[in-house]
């Protein structure tokens, strides 16, 4: 489809896009235009209508009202195929790749020119050319399961480019990437816009990145556009205010709590990952009352395994775990809950909640074993309802009531339910795994404040996070983890961003005394 696109031409225009779902208007008369050679970021909290808009632009959902123009012509997308034909590409946050296939096989999968006989040689030359042009560095023969999140994203982008995409929709492009990968991606994005491609990243958080790369920003709140401006005129706080509808505190008030006696003591703990390889290598540390120990690391360095072993979901192969001086290394997870441990898993939908259960039933996940809530094995539904209502109102979960199914909650609301449920047990020890990943600014702020509150109430907290800013702003001590080992454990006063970043990447730096 040879279309002559010049820099600054309007390539995509949306007029009055409206989409209603039962009980809510996901998109309410959205107007915007996207120009060639421009990065036009769409900002919004979870539930602001970003996902719906994105799906409409890519033909996955049909709008109730409104019109879309591509290169000045009115279009009706019946399915994503129509959108792809018109040069729109989408890079999903949930990767749509086949792990067992190689990079090149994934790229040509479903490509119109890939017939029954694949000309891999020619294809790989073409793809290599695209890579060279935009500065992507990837082994086309590698299997997708061997790739990091950032590389997988590159594959998705290549897939769209190879199909001739001129407009690229990027869903949370930086959320799963490690800092160096983000840098590389941004560099490639810059080259792409130089080539008159239009990029439309959809973003919930990481506002600074938005400010550094994008040309224009459209902010959505509750289905409506609240701001549309050139990035040059935007400030981080201003954007956050438009997104959330109120001022957001970016600097959290660190609370100083007198460090108490140790709650969790871990001695030479080792464990294997799902592939049977050593993922934790004789780790030792302790967490004290009123203390947050932050574990900083790039995903896949053993944090997940550590959390699971501590929570009783994975067997340790060696070492000891003491909770208040009692050995709980081999205790069941139920036993750990009853002994005052609380675990907030990173997999909110698959592990932390049950989608087909109501909120009340999800609250019960951490309460069903309490004698107070049942008589002779019969659950006291009234008490459970009351408890749920209390949690919903205290934590400001925006739902009709306790009977709402968990699967209909947004990520932020679901995390609030999980947090509320675990925190309401007043655990002595909290293991918190990626508590704010994928959450919008407002929900992130809320979660972080709740963690500080729990600290004030003398809980010991083990915070696992891939967001270095989060670790630095919340923790009292920081432990960078690399390949199943702590590189060091550093008191926050001595923690320097660069040192910790280097340690996360595997360099053993001694922190210079200050």
């Amino acid at each position: 489809m040879p279309i002559d696109i010049k820099r600054g031409d309007t390539v995509l225009e949306a007029k009055g896009i409206t989409k209603r779902y039962p009980g809510l208007v996901a998109n309410d008369h959205i107007d915007f235009e996207i120009k060639a050679g421009e990065i036009h970021a769409i900002l919004g909290e979870n539930g602001a209508g970003k996902t719906t808009l994105m799906k409409i632009l890519f033909g996955m959902v049909q709008p109730d009202e409104g019109e879309i123009f591509v290169h000045g012509e009115k279009v009706h997308f019946k399915s994503p195929l129509d959108a792809i034909r018109l040069g729109i590409g989408m890079v999903h946050q949930d990767r749509m790749l086949i792990p067992a296939h190689s990079v090149i096989e994934n790229i040509i999968l479903g490509h119109p020119s890939a017939g029954n006989i694949m000309n891999l040689k020619r294809t790989s030359e073409e793809i290599t050319e695209i890579c060279a042009k935009y500065g992507f560095n990837i082994d086309l023969k590698a299997k997708v399961w061997q790739l990091s999140e950032g590389e997988k994203q590159v594959v998705e982008i290549l897939k769209a480019l190879y199909r001739g995409a001129k407009i690229l929709i990027l869903d949370e492009p930086t959320s799963a990437l490690a800092p160096p990968e983000v840098k590389k991606l941004l560099a490639s994005i810059k080259i792409m816009t130089g080539d008159d491609l239009a990029l439309v990243p959809f973003i919930t958080h990481k506002l600074p990145i938005v400010l550094t790369v994008s040309d224009r920003v459209t902010v959505l709140r509750r289905g409506k556009i609240t701001a549309q401006l050139d990035t040059l005129d935007a400030t981080e706080n201003g954007l956050a205010r438009e997104m959330v509808g109120r001022d957001v505190i970016f600097r959290l008030e660190r609370v100083e709590v007198k460090k108490g006696k140790p709650i969790l003591e871990v001695e030479k703990l080792s464990a294997l990952n799902d592939k049977g390889l050593p993922a934790l290598k004789a780790i030792s540390f302790s967490v004290h009352e009123g203390e947050i120990l932050g574990i900083a690391g790039i995903s896949g360095n053993g944090q997940q395994v550590l959390a699971e072993v501590l929570a009783g979901l994975r067997d340790a192969t060696g070492g000891k775990v003491l909770l208040d001086g009692v050995d709980i290394t081999r205790s069941s997870s139920l036993d750990k809950w009853q002994k005052g441990m609380g675990y907030i898993p990173s997999e909110r939908r698959d592990v932390g909640s049950i989608g087909d259960y109501s909120i009340a039933e999800n609250v019960m996940m951490n309460y069903y074993f309490d004698d107070e809530l049942s008589n002779w094995g019969v659950l006291d539904l009234k008490k459970i309802r009351k408890l749920t209502e209390k949690i919903i109102s205290e934590y400001g979960v925006a739902v009709p009531g306790p009977d709402t199914l968990a699967k209909s909650l947004s990520g932020g609301n679901l995390q609030k339910v999980i947090l509320a449920r675990v925190f309401s047990r007043k655990p002595r020890l909290l293991i918190v795994n990626l508590p704010t990943q994928g959450l919008d600014v407002g929900a992130t702020e809320f979660v972080q404040n709740k963690l500080l509150e729990a600290k004030k109430e003398k809980a010991g907290i083990l915070l696992i996070s891939e967001d270095l800013d989060e670790v630095l702003s919340l923790s009292d001590r920081v432990a960078p983890i690399y390949e199943g080992e702590f590189m060091d454990i550093i008191p926050i006063e001595q923690a320097r961003r660069e040192d910790i970043g280097a340690m996360m990447a595997g360099f053993k730096h001694k922190v210079a005394a200050t």
Partner: protein, 373 residues
Amino acid sequence: MKLGNYQVKLEKKLKVTGLEAAAISTLAIVIALALVSLIFLKAGVNPIIGYTKIFSYAFVNKFGLPLTINRSVFILLCTCAFIIPFRAGLWNIGMAGQLYAGGLGAFAVALAFGAKGPQNLDLSPGIIIPLMMAGAALGGALVGAIPGFLKGRFNTNEIVVTMMLNSIAFWLVAFMIKDGGLFMGAGGEGEGFKLPQSLYAPQIMGGPFTILIALALTGFLYFMFARTKTGYQIKAYGLSPSAARYAGISSYKIPLLVFIIAGLIAGLAGYHLFAAVPGVYKITQNYGDFGDLSFYGIICGLISLGNPLAAIPIALLFGGLTNGGRYVQGELQLGFGIDYALLGVLMITLVAFQFFFRYKIVWKKLAKEKKNV
């Protein structure tokens, strides 16, 4: 999709109410009957007469009705035995083997009290009948515990294990009742010994008391799933094993528990069939046919979506139709198995109509499209 001036769309439903489900299922039944009436027409039978005969024999006739009820109770118990693991996300395909074991358990108790003898033997039913039921429950539970244990401990596929056990239990029964087996009847016609009259199950309002037991069990299961801690844990495990593990629900105990209860109930179905249904009172030569009949429990369980109360009318319908269909086939001299045809079509429509449990069709009048150039 567009139809004239209307836009027709499918929308996902989050929840379906009991009333809606009942209405949708009734519609499915009506459509199945309408479809099968074509078969009647092809065979030269007026479908209205055909259906009148089927339903009046199954649900009104004084010979037909008791047969329907006994058969339905059997199907209902098998349905319960399917539903319990089903709610835990596990498939019990082994009701046949479990009910055979239940039959053996019941008759083992009877044998132990010397029941293998003349028909007028005077034994005390007050003690032996409860023990026979316990024996049946134990036999079924033991066979049920095997797949439960293997699933919980080694994550073995429960479908394979239960199906294999069906064969094992089938031949175990053959071993016991045929060719000089311990339970062989006096006549030696390849069937088990007959209970003496004193051990016939007591009748309540013309039917065996096992009807009440089946209804009570069904009610209990409903309550268990709706209100109890155990039910909550079973459902949680069924909906998301990983979330259940997170909540401290044992991934060993739940499979074991559900299969033990399932086996126990299937064992009672064996007791009902071989020791309580009037006119039987023995492990019959064609016991394998009843094993096959137990598979209706799977269908009923799936159609009722694991709701024990919803299973009652469905089991009754299936029991009635197998019974009435078989009767009408002889009565009208049809050359084919109308009961199987009817049940087959019914299963398909019931399952197909469950589409409407999850989706609804929305009609919307289209606005005249504006030209925009």
